[in-house]
């Protein structure tokens, strides 16, 4: 198991390098100059040169890349061009908000999604199944931006239960979590249902039935455990997705977080901030995938042996 984990970790190194090149290049190849945002009306053209030099923007692209990568590996994410503050501080300030939102949303989608999936599989093709799957379809197709505004209208404006926006207390976390979580719930419910239905047709399940175990015990004790391998992988993959996918939700609910940071920095072409936040999101996806693989390996010995 440890050997497997180490091998998977080592595989992340080339992935990390490739991702860093892509992030760096995309940003520098699209048009738009960060200095334009720094030069205020009235400042002289000489000021422009000074600023370009200060941020190394006057150097060649490969030079800029290696300087950046070297700094990142030493843990220095640079100074924000427009924000004029250390990028690592900005990220550290935003991260807890993103983690709270992402974590709560993940927990919410996992618990509700698995519950719904189990019910749908249990009552397969019955009205409960159809109702759940219908809701799942709706939940997964509704744009989060729109869903967020609908949530505000219903729960804040009409019912007055939750604040419209902000991040002051746990109440303000509820609507954003519901908004992001619903799409995830839909996904988890579908995967759980399919995996359970598939598992029900396995020979070992037939054997359990033949042995005379009650249906619910077979379902929850054996079929679900088998199906969870697939669900866990999906959940782990969603860690990265939830952090990145929270962008629109953070904007609608005016929450600080990695998403808001990224959007603002993108609009201002603040390269160091965009690079660092994209790198964070990419790392979240990579670590999520790694986590998924490790959990899968822990749950299922066949995965471990297949790798070695």
């Amino acid at each position: 198991m440890i050997g497997y984990a180490v091998r998977r970790l080592l595989m992340l190194v080339p992935v990390f390098l490739a991702v860093s090149v892509v992030i760096f290049l995309i940003l520098h190849l699209i048009p738009g100059d960060p200095i334009d945002n720094l030069i205020r009306i009235g400042s002289s053209p000489a000021q422009r040169e000074i600023i370009a030099q200060r941020y190394g923007l006057d150097r060649s692209l490969p030079e800029q890349y290696f300087i950046w990568l070297g700094n990142v590996l030493r843990g220095d994410l640079g100074t924000a061009i427009v924000g004029q503050r250390p990028v690592s501080t900005m990220i550290l300030q935003a991260l807890p908000y993103s983690l709270a939102l992402g974590g709560a949303a993940l927990l919410f989608s996992a618990s509700l999604g698995i519950l719904l999936g189990v019910i749908a599989a249990w009552k397969r093709d019955g009205w409960a199944d159809q109702l759940i799957m219908g809701g799942v379809l709706l939940g997964s197709t509704m744009p989060t931006f729109w869903l967020g505004l609908l949530m505000i209208l219903l729960f804040s404006v009409h019912l007055g239960w939750f604040p419209v926006s902000g991040a002051r207390n746990w109440q303000s976390l509820v609507l954003p979590v519901l908004t992001i979580g619903l799409a995830g719930t839909a996904l988890v419910a579908r995967v759980t249902r399919v995996a359970m239905i598939e598992a029900q047709q396995r020979d070992f399940v037939m054997l359990l039935h033949a042995k005379g175990l009650p249906r619910w015990r077979i379902h929850l004790g054996h079929v679900l455990r088998h199906a969870l391998t697939a669900v866990v992988t999906i959940l782990a993959l969603r860690i990265g997705w939830i952090l990145g996918g929270a962008v629109t939700v953070e904007v609608v609910f005016a929450r600080p977080g990695l998403g808001t940071l990224l959007i603002k920095a993108l609009n201002q072409h603040d390269y160091p901030v965009v690079q660092a936040s994209l790198l964070m999101l990419a790392m979240a996806v990579m670590l999520g995938t790694l986590l998924g693989d490790l959990i899968q390996a822990a749950l299922d010995p066949r995965v471990r042996t297949a790798m070695s």
Partner: protein
């Protein structure tokens, strides 16, 4: 099992509702303001170094000079001032009763230390013309100038020339403006949650508000929260549900919604923005001044005001906002809708009306490109302008660029026409957008004319006093207008939305926007 589940949900709901009861606040005079969307994202309250500052900055710090709504200058930390006739020195008499939030006195000794901080910073140019500061007595300073700067009062009234406490500034280093911000303003920084909200508490010792405020101090509001909400609909819903008390900017699209709410009101403030259509004077057919004048006079500003902006705001007929004295040019230079003149000029220039309604010259149709940035209001504006140009036989094709990429496109110099806007309240904006050394961007018109450059230098560097500067800029403005490198279109207003059940505003709003001057007189209904 179903019943017990229902019961459980019900019980959970009840306890949940109990938890939702908000804790009562310690302050009765408490107000929450949503910042203007274009101020979202300010990273610090360091007036010396920050490239971007928001309205809350003006509450924490005071300035030597305050500017009123009519753009005139009034005393604040400086009680009075005298300018030498040759513009080479200024004497400022400072207030004697002022102290910083940390108890340090504000006096003549503060000034040279403060101005020294600007050296080498991004905002250095604001104090560039000052050679040195002489301390005349405890409360009098003399600025010795490198060259006359009639724009000095404007700079001194800018939020970037807010006065921080030098000792605290030096001690806090990079953290100044983030974890602490020490000024002499009517409010003290309590907490700053970057990108989200700023909480200010009243400075109980404050008694030196500018004479523009009725209340000399302390402020009536005890706790003032500024929130950053990038999404307009969210901000509106916060105001509607009472989550906040005031929005510093309400987009025109939401004005109807605002007015249908009985407890909400909209206060219209003069804006600092002008929408205009630059024409690239180096690109055919706009190398011909007749074609430029024709295109400018084909623009029906009144129709645009009504069709695109719902009648909110004002038309523009010069390059500057109407509040600036330099916009008061000789009427013959004002650029106004005149379709007959536009058609006659195009005929004269050899562009004859073709069968399909598009003019032609030497077999070539009068087809041009019209650029705009990807923003709903600019797209709509571009479409109306396109229709108006078509009416005089100019076929404009619209190209939309991403708002962050369009400046790079301008730098290519390939543009012909564009619709865009700027936000500024000083005549030196003409220098910024038409200066011959800034071709492409900001000089989208690629305008570089020897006569204009001469007038520009005179306006920027050759003025000793305020009056002289005004006259020089007016002459420069008039000449640029006569050359038609652009067509003026529209001047938006700033719509401030507020809750009338909670907030009492002073009868007359002084200052250039809702800022510290107004906040001194604002009250919360109890």
């Amino acid at each position: 099992m179903t019943i017990s589940f229902r019961k459980a949900v019900f019980a959970a709901g009840i306890s949940f509702a109990a938890l939702l009861q908000a804790a009562p606040s310690a302050f009765s005079q408490e107000m929450t303001i949503v910042l203007n969307t274009n101020e979202v994202g300010a990273q610090s309250y360091n007036p010396i170094k920050a490239p971007m500052l928001n309205t809350a900055t003006a509450m924490i710090y005071d300035r030597l000079v305050e500017q009123d709504a009519d753009l005139s200058f009034h005393p604040h930390l400086a009680e009075s001032w005298e300018e030498a006739p040759d513009g080479m020195s200024w004497v400022f008499h400072l207030r004697k009763d002022v102290k910083f939030h940390n108890g340090e006195p504000f006096n003549a000794a503060t000034i040279p230390v403060w101005l020294e901080l600007f050296k080498g910073s991004d905002n250095a140019y604001m104090a560039e013309a000052i050679d040195k500061v002489e301390i005349v007595d405890d409360h009098t300073v003399k600025f010795v100038m490198k060259q006359p700067d009639p724009n000095l009062l404007y700079n001194l009234s800018s939020v970037f020339m807010s006065v921080p406490e030098p000792k605290a500034y030096a001690a806090a280093g990079d953290k100044f403006g983030v974890t602490e911000a020490v000024g002499t303003g009517p409010f003290k920084l309590d907490t700053f949650n970057v990108g989200s909200e700023t909480v200010l508490v009243r400075n109980e010792d404050y008694k030196w508000a500018s004479p523009l405020s009725k209340n000399a101090g302390p402020a009536k509001i005890e706790k003032l929260t500024f929130r950053e909400i990038a999404e307009d609909s969210t901000a509106f819903l916060e105001l509607k549900t009472g989550g906040v008390d005031m929005l510093l900017s309400v987009p025109n699209d939401l004005l109807g919604e605002m007015k249908s709410e009985p407890k909400l009101a909209v206060l219209t403030m003069p804006g600092r923005e002008v929408a205009y259509m630059p024409m690239n004077v180096t690109a055919e057919p706009f190398t011909d001044i007749k074609v430029r004048e024709a295109a400018a006079k084909a623009i029906n500003q009144e129709e645009i005001l009504a069709a695109v902006y719902g009648g909110v705001g004002a038309v523009a007929d010069t390059f500057l906002i109407s509040a600036l004295p330099e916009s008061n040019v000789d009427p013959k230079y004002k650029i106004k809708f005149d379709p007959a003149r536009a058609n006659a000029l195009l005929d004269e220039a050899g562009w004859k009306m073709g069968a399909n309604g598009v003019r032609e010259k030497d077999g070539k149709p009068l087809k041009v490109s019209l650029w705009a940035q990807a923003d709903t209001s600019f797209k709509r504006l571009a479409e109306v302008v396109q229709g108006q140009l078509k009416a005089v036989g100019i076929d404009a094709e619209i190209t939309i660029f991403d708002s962050s990429a369009i400046r790079d496109q301008y730098k290519s110099g390939k543009q012909q026409l564009a619709v865009r806007s700027y936000e500024w309240d000083n005549a030196d904006i003409i220098d910024w957008f038409f200066g011959g050394d800034r071709l492409g961007y900001p000089n989208v018109s690629m305008y570089n004319d020897p006569k204009a450059e001469e007038l520009r230098t005179k306006a920027m560097k050759g003025s000793k006093t305020g009056e002289e500067r005004q006259a020089n800029f007016k002459a420069y403005h008039e000449y640029v207008l006569s050359q038609f490198p652009f067509a003026p279109i529209y001047q938006p207003v700033v719509n401030v939305g507020y809750n009338t059940e909670r907030i009492v505003l002073p009868e007359k709003i002084r200052g250039t926007q809702i800022g510290a001057v107004t906040m001194m007189d604002v009250e919360v209904k109890e």
